[in-house]
Amino acid sequence: MRMEPHEFKLTEEGIKAVLPPLEAEIMEEMWRRKVATAGQIYEVLRIRHPELRRSTVSILMNRLCERGLLRRSVDKGRGGMRYVYSITTTREEFEEKVVKSILDALMSNFREATYAYLSKMKK
């Protein structure tokens, strides 16, 4: 399980800076719902992306499981067995991890400059 981001895109907004755009949209929706099936997420996303296919959502949601942001489990409720996905972390916890990872990287690579800038920000 790895939740920490490994890259940061300076030109992107919000969590799209650390996740590919569609995966970021899936996470936004998952943080709203907490638990959902790939089909439910597909129905929401295809309003914004009419060309989107079920396969894409399924692959990306499983990729988010690999990233440690989602958890996949088998639900044996009404309608038979199916996969349901749930969040492993809140949005706030994830953002905290992003900030921590970036600051850790800055501190180890540009310690003096980072200190100087942070102390300037405090003032």
Binding site: H6, A38, R54, S55, I59, R63, E66, M81
Partner: protein
Amino acid sequence: MAMLPVLIGLEVLLAAVALSELGPWPLLLVSGTVLLIYLWVSLHGGREYTELQRGEMPWLYDGIAEMAGKADLPMPGVYLLDEYVPTAYSFRNAIVLSLGLFEVLDREEILAVAAHELGHIKNGDTRTFPLLAYSRHLMAFLTAVVVLLAGPIAGAAAMGLLILHEILRARFHKEREFAADETALRLLKTPVSLKRALEELKYYEDLREGLRSSAVPSLEPGIERKQRVPIIDTHPSYDERILRILLEIHGNNMFNNRVQ
């Protein structure tokens, strides 16, 4: 198919002649070992399935029952597999569908996949394929024994027979896949749903492949399962199958319409 038993017979004969000085024991030992390994793997290598109860998904259960009736088959066991990658297969009189299928295909398309598996059952493939798997391992073991214990000429001949066996086995497998598709088309209420299912599965595979090739290895290692790349393909490509299905559904009209 008729050539495959001939090749196996020739390989056994070759091994018997090449190893005649050692008596019948090497041959019996190899055959027995392969059989034991095969039986052990067959009995213990299975994955965890959950049998589908009608009440859970009546549309699927009834759909398969209807198609089985149409094919003069008893109702097969329908099992669900906890696997996120869409896949399906059959053994004896049973169909296995992965949960991943239910994420990427609609109901008609899932029934089309089940129809293809029913096609394998109807055409006797679920009896033939295990025999082929056994014969493949037997051929490989016999070749190894002949190469190791007999002279280079016998070894080369054994290798030649093994390669020929593999080529013919792959061709046979491909023919059976096409035949299962043809049977499925006859069983389905909406034959074109099989084409749609294959298109979606092809899209899934292509996207997965695309992600794998575009990903930075250190960043994106997990999503892809390790896949063995076979030297000789035993399955036709999705495109080949889709083309055959289109020809089956539209016949020559497909080309005539295009010309018009």
